[in-house]
């Protein structure tokens, strides 16, 4: 300091970017969650870019391979023109698996969003109102949770008839009680928190208290549960398809329906089971890994 200048050293504390920024950083350090991201990327990418990826039309029938004996029927094994083989009717399996991602993503995402909305609404009312309303709503939730999910979904599809919108509703209804209970529990815990008491003590209006203070603080478990629910939704949709409750139009490439159509040829054409099955596994595992990663990175108690 011979020159007499004073060096002002600004010691930047390790920048904290708030709750979400920190959570995001923790998530990026989580290897399984990154793998989940890759799987989900493959799944969502396939769904979005299906027309670019698929070489054929998912509904069209294609001729058997030239070396097939005359009068032979499908399925036909994989070959360069048909990478995953052809099904009983001669349709391209690869194209159908690719387009199947669209159905799964659409129905899975739709049912989770719909489920979060219904469940969130019910849970918010129960958690905010308390008392009688809470009691009645939560008993309904208990009843719904007591019924095995896939059974409930089968019942709803049987009642509403087959079709993609009906499947979406059915899976949404089976998921909604979980979200309702989670949100209610979160709200009840936060209602007793110091900062809600402090906000009430300066006269913050009830509406604002609920929407700005209580809801945002009870959303993290919902986000985690919704990610995990995407995995089960995809499996549930495929399960309904497998049980013959898939979309009524046989040309719709739905993974579960494709599986059930191929079970008769399990020995002769295992590739017809393998590829749709693999697609279901990749997408479901992807959301499961991401969901677990999110839970760890969002939970401050697990902070290392």
């Amino acid at each position: 300091m011979a020159s007499g200048t004073v060096a002002v050293v600004r010691v930047a504390p390790r920048a904290s970017r708030g709750l979400w920024g920190d959570a995001w950083r923790r998530l990026l350090r989580n290897r399984p969650a990154l793998l989940g991201f890759v799987f989900i990327g493959v799944f969502v990418g396939t769904a979005v870019f299906a027309p670019l990826l698929a070489p054929h039309d998912p509904g069209a029938l294609y001729p058997p391979p030239p070396d097939a004996s005359s009068g032979a029927t499908g399925p036909y094994p994989p070959r360069p023109e048909h990478l995953m083989g052809q099904d009983l009717q001669g349709r391209d399996e690869f194209t159908r698996v690719v387009y199947g991602a669209r159905i799964s993503l659409l129905v899975g995402l739709g049912s989770v969003i719909f489920g979060v909305i219904i469940g969130g609404f019910v849970g918010a009312i129960a958690g905010a109102a308390g008392g009688r309303a809470d009691n009645v709503l939560m008993r309904v939730v208990d009843v719904l949770l007591a019924i095995p999910g896939i059974l409930l979904a089968i019942g709803i599809v049987a009642w509403l008839d087959r079709g993609l919108p009906q499947i979406t509703i059915a899976v949404a209804v089976t998921n909604a009680p979980i979200f309702a209970r989670l949100l209610r529990g979160g709200l009840l815990a936060i209602r007793e928190s110091d900062y809600v008491l402090a906000a009430r003590s300066v006269g913050v209006p009830t509406r604002r208290l609920l929407l700005r203070h209580m809801l945002p603080n009870s959303l993290t478990p919902i986000i985690v549960a919704a990610t995990l629910a995407l995995a089960t939704a995809i499996i549930d949709v495929a399960g309904l398809g497998f049980l013959g409750l898939g979309p009524p139009d046989p040309r719709t490439p739905e993974w579960g329906t494709m599986l059930t159509d191929s079970t008769k040829f399990l020995r002769a054409a295992p590739y017809l089971i393998f590829f749709p099955g693999l697609a279901i596994v990749i997408s479901a595992v992807g959301f499961n890994l991401l969901g677990d990663g999110l839970r760890e990175s969002l939970d401050p108690r697990l902070k290392k």
Binding site: L19, D194, A198, S201, V202, G203, R212, H213
Partner: protein, 365 residues
């Protein structure tokens, strides 16, 4: 006409394990601009009394089951929830014990301050923001324009308590209740925060109730002190008078259980033996009797009323000339208060009558 007038307040908590008798008939008045200390150990009903005044008791367990609370000419217990919401923040505000948990972690300081202001004033965001910056400057937060955008976790405990004070005083309320405002803070920060509180309430003429278990905190801050025990006020006096002539054995015990710098060499601390009574039982007799060295047989059966220490004195409830009152059958003499134990020849604390002993199921020496 007092600003705040609490009369015979009874608060009970109805829980699955039974009824908790938290506050058992508390009466006190507070004038405008006055600072009152409420002192007592954990669970004596200090916080519950203040939450009851704010009508913020946890629902549905906590109930005001008796008495009245009049504030600024209004019967608070008759107010609707909407009317109470209007008053909270504008006319009466509260500061809580733990600044680490009293701010919402997902909202910035700005959002929380602006919403407090906008809850009561029809002002635009810019105006509210300007007021928030002004408030942060007043409570001594450097670079308030930048700090406004920060989240609570980027503040230290002392800074957060300053923010809480800024929010509580944002609308210049007539009454501020500070519930152990410095308990969660470092000792060095405690003094700063207390000094800030005192300066601001004096400047704005805000009446304050300072709740604490620390007699040292109230000594320099308050004009009057209520000592609470097991949901009762057991002694009430102007601050100087209380320290000079403590007249309830519990007050004497409190004064003797804190170390003092000016203590005579070798003077020992005398802890108060035992624990506060189980408040699941409806109180019988003086609540302090089981721990009291001065108790008489009467103490086990009759709870003494809060009466002037100098008998036949007219009761003044507020101001510097407030009457020194105590609820005790056998007040310690000044000499005994100084010694911390009874000095009368052959005096033995009365043993509990057998019925009470069985019920208390405690061994009383």
């Amino acid at each position: 006409m007092a600003l705040l007038s609490v009369d015979g307040l009874v608060v009970r908590f109805r829980t699955h394990e039974g009824t908790i008798h938290a506050v058992n008939g508390v009466s006190f008045d507070l004038d405008e601009g006055e600072t009152l200390g409420i002192v007592g150990e954990s669970g004596c009903g200090k916080s519950v009394t203040s939450l009851a005044i704010m009508r913020l008791l946890p629902k549905p367990a906590g109930r005001i089951e008796g008495g009245s609370v009049r504030f600024d000419g209004q019967d608070l217990l008759a107010c609707s929830e909407a009317e109470m919401r209007e008053m909270r923040g504008r006319d009466m505000a509260m500061i809580f014990q733990d600044p680490m948990t009293s701010l919402n972690p997902v909202l910035t300081i700005e959002e929380q301050m602006v919403e407090t202001i906008q809850a009561h004033r029809k002002v635009g965001n810019e105006e509210a923001r300007a007021r928030a910056i002004e408030l942060l400057t007043i409570v001594g937060i450097p670079e308030p324009e930048n700090r406004l955008r920060a989240f609570p976790h980027q503040f230290s405990g002392g800074m957060r308590q300053r923010v809480m004070i800024a929010m509580a005083l944002a609308l210049a309320p007539k009454l501020l209740i500070a519930d152990e405002p410095t308990t969660a803070l470092d000792v060095t920060i405690q003094a700063q925060v207390l000094e800030l509180l005192q300066r601001l309430t004096t400047e704005t003429g805000t009446a304050a109730i300072l709740i604490t278990h620390d007699l040292g905190v109230v000594a320099g801050m308050t004009q009057r002190i209520n000592v609470m025990y097991a949901g009762y006020i057991v002694e009430a006096a102007p601050t100087a008078e209380l320290f000079a002539k403590p007249s309830h054995p519990y007050t004497v015990g409190l004064l003797h259980s804190i170390p003092r710098l000016d203590a005579v060499q070798g003077e020992e601390l005398i802890p108060i033996e035992g624990a506060p009574p189980d408040q699941r039982r409806a109180p019988v007799g003086c609540p302090f009797a089981p721990r009291c060295a001065w108790r008489l047989p009467d103490c086990w059966t009759t709870n003494p009323p809060l009466v002037p220490v100098r008998a036949a004195e007219a009761v003044v409830t507020t101001g510097p000339g407030a009457t020194h009152r105590v609820a005790c059958h056998n007040s310690p003499t000044p000499g005994e208060a100084a010694a911390g134990r009874p000095l009368r020849e052959g005096f033995v604390a009365a043993p509990p009558p057998s019925a009470v002993a069985d019920e208390l199921a405690v061994v009383v020496p």
